[in-house]
């Protein structure tokens, strides 16, 4: 091993040891990315299901105001899990006018009021409720379900009374067979397409944001604490210093991203086991190209962040520069989500940040377009080198030993 690579390794190792000793940083940069997707994909749906079950178990109080009420609708309502109270109907203007009813709807003594009235051959109705009350929303939804069922029955009855066939009258256009069977895309491809809409976004934003804290700590932090001056007097070049620090930040970010992907795969595996989502069809070559795209992106991002942080005189200044810089990733990432990949022009794959995100989208959909791959590999390499050169220039500045403190 050459002296230079030994020094780079020493610098990186020291940075990683310091990083590992701060449990708060470990928590925010390693534990959170690992748990993020499982929490989002597994625990969140479980929480939603539990909340839905809780809502189902709610006993809602409903007042039905009507002077004439169909018997079959009354039967349907009686069979539902709602507490019903019947009142005669009085209103001003139209059925939706809640004047006189606001008080009991607001104080929760009644969750919803169904007004029902027949005019000639049409039944008119309105449901008075409070949209900001969960009980009110639930009461309204349950009543709508019952009313929809009753409407379907009533429609069918009227069609039969008119001497027509309800099936051919209501559904003159019908799909033949299984809709899913008609799609030639495999379940894996469909999963790839779905994942391509958010994995590039999450990966890029997380790579950028997780590199911020270590980048600042290892540059502006050192500058502020006065540790950089002693280091610059040692027989190691500033380029070695940059590479050592870059290696450390890239390792931390890389581990964070890998843990995030691991968490994501675990969550997808769980969803696949419950038939909610399939595993994407990805060949080994695709996986390798995805890794290359992420690596080139990480090289560029980490070098860029180290350079910006090195320019700053203090941790506070670096934070105020790098924090808003997330927008540089977030906006292109959101923009990339809506770009149509079919027939996309090659120049899109040369735009910084957008190129890697589009590449990830294509690769996750298992699309291999040689022209696109060439453009994003070459352009990403150029951007990564440019960011490294920029970072090297910042590390060679003489004023990096001075700090505001």
């Amino acid at each position: 091993m050459s002296d230079s690579s030994r020094r780079i390794r020493t610098i990186a190792k020291k940075e990683l040891i310091e990083f590992a000793r701060d449990w708060r940083t470990i928590l925010s940069l390693l534990v959170i990315p690992l748990l993020m997707f499982p929490v989002l994909f597994i625990l969140f749906p479980l929480l939603l299901a539990s909340e839905a079950a809780e809502l189902d178990a709610l006993q809602v109080n409903i007042v039905i105001q009507s002077n004439e009420f169909p018997d079959d609708l009354e039967d349907l309502l009686n069979n539902s899990s709602m507490e019903l109270h019947y009142e005669s109907l009085t209103y001003e203007g139209n059925l939706s006018n809640p004047i006189g009813e606001e008080e009991r709807l607001r104080n929760g003594s009644v969750d919803a009021i169904l007004r029902f009235e027949k005019a000639e051959n049409i039944w008119h109705y309105a449901i008075l409720f409070m949209s900001t009350s969960e009980r009110g929303q639930e009461a309204r939804n349950r009543m709508l379900d019952v009313l929809n069922d009753w409407e379907a029955n009533e429609t069918e009855r009227r069609i039969v009374d008119a001497g027509l066939d309800p099936n051919t009258t209501i559904n003159p256009l019908q799909w033949d067979g299984d809709i899913a069977q008609s799609d030639v895309a495999t379940q894996g491809e469909q999963a790839g397409m779905m994942l391509s809409l958010f994995i590039p976004l999450v990966l890029s934003v997380w790579t950028f944001s997780s590199a911020i804290q270590p980048s600042i700590d290892m540059t502006a932090g050192e500058r502020e604490r006065g540790t950089l001056e002693a280091l610059l007097g040692l027989p190691c070049s500033r380029i070695e210093l940059l590479f050592g620090k870059w290696l450390a930040v890239a390792t931390i970010t890389g581990i964070g991203v890998l843990l995030q992907i691991f968490g994501l795969l675990f969550a997808i595996g769980y969803l696949a086991s419950t038939n909610l989502l399939s595993l994407p069809d990805l060949s080994l070559t695709t996986v390798l190209f995805i890794a290359l795209a992420v690596m080139l992106f990480a090289v560029m991002v980490v070098a860029f962040e180290l350079a910006l942080a090195m320019r700053s005189h203090s941790v506070k200044e670096a934070g105020s520069v790098l924090g808003p810089a997330v927008i540089l990733i977030l906006f292109p990432a959101l923009f990339t989500q809506v770009i149509n990949l079919d027939g996309i022009e090659a120049f899109w794959f040369a735009i910084p940040v957008v190129n890697v995100l589009l590449a990830l989208r294509e690769l996750l959909m298992d699309r291999f377009v040689l022209e696109h791959i060439l453009v994003w590999v070459v352009s990403s390499t150029i951007y990564a080198i440019a960011a490294a050169v920029y970072a090297a220039r910042q590390f060679k500045r003489e004023d990096i030993v001075t700090s505001l403190s």
């Binding site: 030994r6 020291k14 040891i17 006065g226 003489e398 004023d399």
Partner: protein, 274 residues
């Protein structure tokens, strides 16, 4: 007097429009303990940073005995900056080992040398402790150990006793004297004349980026006719001292404009307006 170990040949250093050092010519000889004395902003730290290769001279050359540029000979220089520059999440030994590894030393040799000096500084027991809880004195001692671990030919100390209690300052001064007695070369920056007189065999007075005097304490008295060093110093530095270089750096126009909204005017400024 030994051979010249460090040579500053017509060295000037400027930061933009600010002239930090102006045509400095110096020879530091082996075995000398040289005191760099000057007020804040005189140029002491800039000169030390030039000696350690952290800064490049704007003009002139800084060389070591073998004619090598100081940057290429950093192996021979040990630095203790004013801020000590210790990593708080590392132990004292890890801090020392980090620098020794970057000097290319094996851990065994580094540990042996560390323990020798740690015994002299009475901090052997503290080597395994994180430096976060260290007193200023302990930090300074650790920084000294770190600077000495690779057996440098020259030791550069920037205000090594600043902020230390009496006992710690005595320990540091005592070690520097011992190093001198053992033939070591030390450049010692301070703004305390009494300290320079007590420790150094040679004193260089720097003022506003220029070397105003260079010699033994006795020769400085003879040069100025002063009764003591303090009087000699005052006579040599009569013109007003400038501010530190960092303080002189102008703020950008935008920063000045923005800060003006949040900077209250002094009662004197308000009174002048009225």
């Amino acid at each position: 007097m030994g051979p010249a170990l460090l040579t500053a040949n017509d060295v000037s250093k400027s930061f933009g429009e600010i002239q930090a050092l102006n045509h400095v010519n110096l020879e530091i000889h082996e075995g000398e303990i040289v005191g760099l004395v000057g007020s804040n902003g005189a140029g002491k730290t800039t000169l030390l940073r030039l000696f350690s290769g952290v800064y490049e001279p704007t003009s002139g050359t800084m060389t070591l005995a073998d004619g090598k540029h100081v940057k290429e000979a950093r192996q021979n220089v040990g630095v203790v900056p004013e801020s000590t520059g210790l990593y708080s999440r590392l132990t004292a030994w890890e801090n020392i080992r980090y620098h020794s590894r970057l000097h290319g030393l094996s851990d065994d040799i580094a540990w042996h040398r560390t323990t020798v000096f740690a015994q002299r500084l009475e901090m052997l027991d503290a080597l395994g402790r994180h430096t976060k809880g260290f007193s200023r004195g302990m930090k300074q001692k650790t920084a000294l150990l770190r600077a000495l671990v690779h057996a440098p030919k020259v030791l550069l100390l920037d205000e090594p006793t600043a902020g230390l209690d009496v006992t710690s300052a005595r320990t540091v001064r005592s070690l520097v004297r011992q190093l001198g007695e053992e033939g070591g070369t030390v450049i010692y920056s301070t703004h305390q004349l009494a300290e320079a007189e007590a420790v150094c065999s040679r004193i260089i007075i720097i003022h506003n980026g220029e070397v105003r005097a260079d010699g033994t304490p006795q020769s400085l008295l003879e040069l100025t006719g002063g009764k003591n060093l303090e009087e000699a110093y005052v006579m040599l530095t009569k013109d007003k001292a400038r501010a530190r270089q960092e303080d002189q750096k102008p703020m950008s126009k935008i920063a000045t404009w923005w800060q003006s909204f949040f900077t209250p005017r002094t009662p004197m400024e308000v009174g002048e307006d009225e």
